[in-house]
Amino acid sequence: MLNEIKSRFLSGKKIYCDISKCLGCRSCEIACAVEHSKTKDLFQAIDETVPPQSRVAVERLDITHHTFHITQSLPLQCRHCDDAPCIKICPTKSMQKLDDEGPVVHKDETCIGCKWCILVCPFGIPKVGRSGKIIIKCDLCIERLKTGNIPACVEACPTKAIRFVTVEKVAKEKKKKFLVSFVRNGKTIGD
C-alpha cells in the first residue's frame, strides 16, 4: 500500500506556496478543517460538537526592504522534514515518517501529550487538539492522496498559490525563469 501511495501520488511531492500569489483569504484553513472534520461537509462541520481544526495557519509577515514596506501573508504548515526533530524527540514513537519521501504523520493512539514535539519544531507547527491529548499537524492529506486527490488546501486555494509539487520542479521553474531573463535581457536577480 505504501509503495502504491509513493509511486502514484507522492513521488516526493510536498506542499509549497508561492507567497506572491497568497491573498490571505484563508480558504485553505477552511478546507483543511472541513477535510479533518467528522462529517467532511462544510455546513455540517460547523455544527460538530468539537469544532474541527485547521492544520494550516495563514500568518502575516511585515516585510521591510530598504524604504519599501509591505504586509505579506503566507500559509504555514508542517514541512514534513527529512530529518524531523519531532520524530527524534517523541518518546512513544508517535511521530513517524512513512518513508524517505513521505509525510511525517502523527499517531493519536500512542501519543501521551508530552508536547515536546511542539517545543522542538523550528517552525512552531504542531498544535494541541481541542478534544484532549492529541497533537494536530498537517498529514499531507494522506487519506485524499490514497483516493487520487490532491491535498485539500491545494484544491481550495483560489489563486493556486499553494501547490503540490516536488522541490525539483520548483527549482527547475526558477532555473528556467532566471536563464530566460538572463539570456534575453542580460539581467540577473536583483537588477
Binding site: 480558504s27 469544532p51 481544526q53 485547521s54 481550495a156
Partner: protein
C-alpha cells in the same frame, strides 16, 4: 445542446459555475462583511479567532445585515417593476402612451375602489389617472400604511400592526434598510430581521402586487391558455425573436407590433415563409405566455443555449436575470441583442431606449432589425433541438374560482371542501429560479412530482414553472401520470392540471391573494398562517427570491429553500429565522439539501396544520 458547447470552446453558465467551485467558505456561511473599510472582515467558522469584526459585530449581526441587504435589493427590483407599470397607467390615462390602453376595465374599477377613488360617472381615462397617481404616491409615502395589505385576513393585519411590520411607504422601507445596515447602525440581529420583514412586505403587498394588478389592468387579466415550451419552439423558416427580461411594458408591445400590418408586409416583402416567431425566456416570457400564449423557449438558465441554436435573429432584453455572458456569444453567432433600459446596459449589446410614449414605433423599429438579420444566419451553426412540450398556463386568483365553481358560481368552496374532506392535502407554491448548484431544474421536477403524488395542489411561478413545463407537468394529462388519487379526482372533475402556472415572479402576489380567498371561504383556518400551505424555492439564485421568501414568511407561511441562505455560520440568526420567527408571524424558513428531505418537511408541515384544524384524514393515504 451542452455537447455543442464542448466542441465550440464557448463558456456557458454551467462551465463558469464549475470554475467557481469551491465557493468561498466565509461567503456561503455568511461570515464575511464588506460594509466598511475597517474590513473586509471574516469570522472564523470553527470557534477560533477572529470571532468578531473590527467594529465588534459578531457573526449574527454580520449575517443579518447581509441578508437584509439582499432582501432590500430584491424588494427594490420588484418595486421598480411595479413603479413602471403605475407610471404607464398614469400615462395611458393622460393620453400620452398611444398603443397602450386599459384592457381590463373591471379590474381598474375594483382596484380604484380599493384606493377609495370615487369612480361614479368617471371615464376610464380619468380613473386611470387617479389610480396611477395614488399608486405612485404610495412609493413616496412617508407615514401611514400601504394600502393593498388591507386585503389580508384580520389575523395577519393584527400581527403586522402589533409588531410594526406594516410598511409606511414602498421606497421608505428600502431607504431605511440601506441605512440601518450601514456600519454602526443596527447591531441587533432580531431588529435587523424585523426591518427586512417590513421591507419585504412593501414588496409582496406593494411593488409586486401593484405590478401584477396593473399588468392585468393594462394588458388584460389572464385566462387559462395553451402553449408550448423548450428550445424546439424556435423555427428554422421564421424570424425568431426572443424576448427576455421582466417587464411586460416592452414585451407586450413587441407582440402587438408583430401583428401590425406594416411589419407583416415587411416580413412578406423579404419572402420569409414562416413570418415572425416570437418566443420568450425568463419572467417576461411568463407575462406574454399568460396573456397571449406566446411559446416559451426556456427559463433563464437556457438564455445562452437559445442563441447557440443559431436561429435566434434578435434577442430583445429589458432588465433582471440577463447574463453578461451573452456578450461572448455575439462573437460566434449572427444573433443581435438589443437592450432597452437605461438601468440595464451591456457594453456588447446594441441599445435602443424604450419609451412608453413612442412604444409602438420603437417596437416596430426593433422588429425590423430582427427581420433584416434573418438572412445573416450561418447555416453550419444551425442546430435546433427537437424538444418541445405542451403546457397550460394562465391561472389567476380570479379565474381559479371560476374553474372550481363554474362560470356563474365562481367560488373557492370546492377547493376548501377538497382540503377539508381529505381529497387534497393542501396547496404548495413551488417557485423561483434554476441553479446549477441544485441540479439546474431537476430539484423542481423531483419535488413537484413527489408533492402531487401526495395529493398536494402545486402553484408555480417564474423559472420553476418553466422547468416543470418542459417536463410536461403543466399538462392536465400529468394528473393521471403522476398525481395521487385525490388530486387526480379533482383535476379530472374540474379539468385542470395538478400543477397550476400562475405567472411571473411578481405574480407570486397571486399566491397571496389566492390564500386570502381560501381563508375568506372558510373552514381551513382563520389566518394565512393556519392554512395547510407552504412555499418552496428549491433552486433559488436571485436576491429577489430572498425578498419573496421573506414576505411569505412574514405573511405566515413555511418557506423551504434548496441549500440555505448564506447565514448558517451564524447560529443564533439561523435559529431565529428557521424556528423562533414562527412565534411572531406564524411563518418560518427551512433549509433542505434534497427533494426527498424537502418533501418530508413540507408534508409534515401540511399534516400538522390539518391536525390543528381537525380536518378529516387524507382520503387515499395508505
Amino acid at each position: 445542446m451542452l455537447g455543442i458547447v464542448d466542441q465550440k470552446d464557448i463558456s456557458t453558465v454551467f462551465d463558469r459555475y464549475k470554475k467557481q467551485e469551491l465557493h468561498c467558505g466565509f461567503g456561503v456561511l455568511g461570515l464575511c462583511c464588506k460594509n466598511c473599510n475597517f474590513g473586509p472582515c471574516r469570522i472564523d467558522p470553527f470557534a477560533e479567532e477572529p470571532s468578531v469584526g473590527v467594529c465588534g459585530a459578531d457573526a449574527n449581526v454580520i449575517a443579518a445585515r447581509n441578508l437584509v441587504r439582499h432582501v432590500t435589493a430584491g424588494s427594490a427590483c420588484h418595486s421598480d417593476h411595479g413603479r413602471e407599470l403605475a407610471k404607464l397607467l398614469l400615462l395611458i390615462g393622460e393620453g400620452k402612451a398611444p398603443g397602450y390602453k386599459v384592457k381590463d376595465e373591471k379590474k381598474l374599477k375594483k382596484i380604484a375602489e380599493e384606493y377609495k377613488i370615487n369612480i361614479e360617472n368617471k371615464a376610464m381615462d380619468e380613473i386611470a389617472v387617479m389610480l396611477g397617481k395614488k399608486l405612485l404616491d404610495e412609493y413616496g409615502q412617508q407615514e401611514g400604511e400601504i394600502n393593498l395589505m388591507n386585503r389580508a385576513p384580520e389575523k395577519q393585519k393584527g400581527i403586522w400592526r402589533k409588531n410594526k411590520f406594516w410598511p409606511r411607504g414602498i421606497d421608505r422601507e428600502i431607504v431605511e434598510n440601506m441605512a440601518r445596515t450601514n456600519m454602526g447602525v443596527d447591531n441587533d440581529y432580531k431588529n435587523l430581521i424585523a426591518g427586512g420583514i417590513r421591507c419585504s412586505l412593501a414588496d409582496g403587498w406593494g411593488g409586486s402586487m401593484i405590478g401584477t394588478d396593473v399588468s392585468d389592468i393594462i394588458f388584460g387579466s389572464p385566462q387559462p391558455i395553451r402553449s408550448i415550451s423548450n428550445l424546439g419552439v424556435l423555427k428554422e423558416d421564421a424570424v425568431n425573436i426572443v424576448l427576455h427580461g421582466h417587464v411586460p411594458i416592452l414585451s407586450d408591445m413587441i407582440c402587438d407590433a408583430a401583428l401590425n400590418k406594416e411589419i407583416i408586409d415587411y416580413v412578406n416583402s423579404k419572402g420569409i415563409k414562416g413570418g415572425i416567431n416570437i418566443v420568450g425566456i425568463c419572467c417576461t416570457a411568463n407575462e406574454i405566455l399568460m396573456r397571449r400564449g406566446i411559446p416559451v423557449a426556456g427559463n433563464m438558465l437556457q438564455q445562452e443555449l437559445a442563441i447557440m441554436t443559431g436561429v435566434v435573429d434578435l434577442m430583445v432584453v429589458d432588465l433582471q436575470c440577463i447574463m453578461p455572458g451573452l456578450q461572448e456569444l455575439l462573437k460566434c453567432y449572427h444573433t443581435r441583442i438589443i437592450s432597452t433600459s437605461s438601468k440595464a446596459r451591456f457594453p456588447g449589446f446594441e441599445y435602443i431606449e424604450f419609451k412608453e410614449e413612442g412604444g409602438l414605433d420603437i417596437a416596430k423599429r426593433i422588429l425590423k432589425i430582427g427581420v433584416d438579420n434573418y438572412s445573416k444566419r450561418v447555416k453550419e451553426l444551425i442546430n435546433i433541438p427537437k424538444e418541445k412540450m405542451d403546457l397550460i398556463a394562465g391561472f389567476t386568483t380570479e379565474n381559479i374560482s371560476t374553474f372550481l365553481g363554474g362560470k356563474y358560481r365562481a367560488t373557492y368552496r370546492p377547493l376548501n371542501d377538497a382540503i377539508i374532506s381529505g381529497r387534497l392535502r393542501g396547496v404548495v407554491g413551488v417557485v423561483g429560479c434554476n441553479n446549477p448548484k441544485f441540479g439546474s431544474g431537476r430539484f423542481h421536477i423531483d419535488l413537484v412530482k413527489e408533492l402531487i403524488k401526495k395529493d398536494v395542489l402545486v402553484l408555480q411561478t417564474g423559472c420553476a414553472a418553466l422547468e416543470c413545463a418542459k417536463e410536461g407537468l403543466l399538462r392536465p394529462e400529468s394528473a393521471k401520470e403522476f398525481a395521487g388519487k385525490g388530486l387526480q379526482e379533482i383535476c379530472e372533475t374540474v379539468g385542470i392540471p395538478p400543477v397550476l402556472h400562475v405567472g411571473s415572479c411578481v405574480d407570486n402576489s397571486r399566491i397571496l391573494t389566492a390564500c386570502i380567498e381560501m381563508v375568506k371561504e372558510g373552514g381551513v383556518g382563520e389566518g394565512l398562517d393556519e392554512l395547510p400551505i407552504a412555499g418552496a424555492a428549491p433552486e433559488w439564485m436571485s436576491e429577489k427570491a430572498i425578498a419573496i421568501g421573506f414576505y411569505f414568511v412574514a405573511s405566515g407561511a413555511l418557506v423551504v429553500l434548496g441549500g440555505s441562505f448564506p447565514v448558517t455560520g451564524a447560529k443564533n440568526l439561523t435559529k431565529f429565522i428557521t424556528e423562533d420567527v414562527e412565534k411572531i408571524t406564524g411563518g418560518r424558513f427551512s433549509f433542505c439539501e434534497t427533494p426527498k428531505k424537502m418533501t418530508e418537511v413540507i408534508i409534515a408541515h401540511l399534516n400538522k396544520k390539518r391536525e390543528t384544524l381537525k380536518l378529516k384524514p387524507m382520503m387515499y393515504e395508505k
